[in-house]
């Protein structure tokens, strides 16, 4: 808002990059889950019936992915809350850019979290290669 506001902003300029981290985690989780299932089922075949190793692997990916998304989300949320400013963070200042980036990343983190849970939900219900 004001120039004095800039004291809340860290030295390093913000990177637009960080916006993509939560969706990137979702994408990697999605790919890893599907690749694991496809490869395991192609090798072991549907004869094997139960796909428990796949379920365990995807459970592990999911824990890692959700943790990462939560961490990115938390960092972003703190950026959004720097200083006293309220939404929509649309002033042409370093501080508001910082907050805006944080807010947008927070929303994307929530979306990525839900999407990752949806991906994992498949193996909660489907436990075989059929």
């Amino acid at each position: 808002m004001t120039d004095a506001d800039d004291e809340f902003v860290p030295e390093k300029p913000d990177r637009l990059w960080s916006l993509t981290f939560p969706p990137l985690v979702w994408a990697v989780h999605f790919l890893a889950s599907y690749l694991t299932a496809a490869i395991w089922c192609a090798k072991a075949g549907p004869q094997a019936g139960d796909a428990d190793p796949v379920r365990v692997a995807i459970a592990a990916y999911t824990v890692v992915a959700l943790t990462l998304i939560a961490v990115f989300g938390w960092i972003a949320f703190r950026k959004h809350r720097t200083g006293e400013a309220t939404l929509p963070h649309d002033f042409d200042s370093r501080a508001d850019q910082h907050r805006f980036l944080g807010f947008a990343t927070t929303l994307l983190a929530i979306l990525s979290f839900v999407a990752t849970v949806f991906t994992a939900l498949v193996v909660v219900f489907v436990g075989s290669c059929h």
């Binding site: 549907p46 839900v114 849970v117 949806f118 939900l121 498949v122 909660v124 219900f125 489907v126 436990g127 075989s128 059929h130």
Partner: protein
């Protein structure tokens, strides 16, 4: 044969179709409810004279716009996924297995006999009621999709791969199956008949189908058999028990017992059989069988008499 077989996923006659219909009703009911709510709110927003309460509108936008859809989608996804294992589970070992090949624009059907010998037929699938049946699906050219809406879901037939489907009919009756993936010119006429009967009737039918073709008895039919071989029909069609062993077109060994002709296009009557042979391309444009327009009347009559008695 003028009964209209059903072809509606909302008139289920099999376990798969029952779950799918249930899912459809839940989704339609839910959609109707949400639609009423949204339209109701829109009307309220327009009609209300005073300013809207700020906190309440925010709550509504975040709650109704983000939280509620997420919850609804999660419920629907879970409900749909919970149906998958049963729908995808193969029929138990030893169940009746039927092989179906999609061919432009008809269906090659193969049952396995008691001693494992294949029993070929086409464009008609008969099934016993109240037991799971395993289908192995193939394609001989492009992608087709095998679908009997009244019995269950659809599964693609992919060249070079074997796909599978389990169906479990729960009601005796006649149903229609379709190709559900555009596959070229006569795609819309690529259908088949499904007859679900009690187990004893089915077994009798299968035993009949496994036998070679009956020898023609009348003079006319004997003459027809000669026409069939002289005109080269046997290059494309097989009639087991005769020299005809073509694989390009449908097996005709028991053509006379089928309900319809040309992949469920025409009722199987004498008149339609004549039309099929002489006006093939008017009846089913693009079809991969040459029309025998110039066949002399006496040959045609004999040929049809022969085909009719292949019960």
């Amino acid at each position: 044969m003028n009964s209209f077989p059903t072809q509606s996923a909302l008139d289920p006659a099999g376990q798969g179709a029952e779950s799918i219909a249930q899912l459809f009703y839940w989704m339609s009911g839910g959609a109707a409810l949400i639609w009423c709510l949204v339209i109701g709110l829109a009307v309220y927003a327009i009609r209300r004279p005073q300013a809207h309460h700020y906190r309440l509108t925010r709550l509504l936008v975040i709650g109704g716009g983000a939280v509620v859809p997420t919850v609804v989608l999660t419920c629907l996804l879970s409900y749909g996924l919970s149906m998958m294992p049963e729908l995808q589970r193969p029929a138990p070992e030893g169940s009746l297995t039927v092989h179906v090949h999609g061919v432009r624009w008809w269906w090659r059907v193969e049952y396995l006999g008691p001693s494992g010998q294949p029993i070929a037929t086409a464009n008609e699938i008969r099934l016993p009621v109240d037991q799971p049946i395993e289908f192995k699906l193939f394609s001989e050219d492009v992608i087709h999709s095998f679908w009997i809406p009244s019995l269950g879901g659809k599964v693609d037939m992919i060249p070079g791969r074997t796909t599978r489907l389990k169906l479990h009919p729960t009601r005796v009756g006649q149903f229609r199956g379709v190709c559900a993936e555009y596959c070229g010119g006569a795609h819309a006429q690529m259908n088949f008949d499904v007859v679900v009967s009690d187990a004893a009737t089915f077994e009798r039918w299968l035993a009949d189908q496994s036998a070679p073709a009956s020898e023609p008895e009348t003079d006319l039919a004997v003459a027809g058999k000669a026409v069939f071989s002289q005109r080269g029909c046997g290059a494309c069609h097989a009639i087991r028990g005769t020299a005809a062993d073509g694989l390009v077109g449908p097996d005709l060994t028991h053509l006379g017992s089928r309900l319809r002709l040309g992949a469920s296009l025409l009722d199987n009557t004498r008149q339609n059989l004549r039309r099929w042979i002489t006006q093939t391309h008017q009846v089913k444009p693009k079809v991969e069988m040459p029309a025998f327009e110039a066949l002399p009347e006496d040959e045609l009559t004999a040929l049809v008499a022969y085909l009719e008695q292949l019960k």
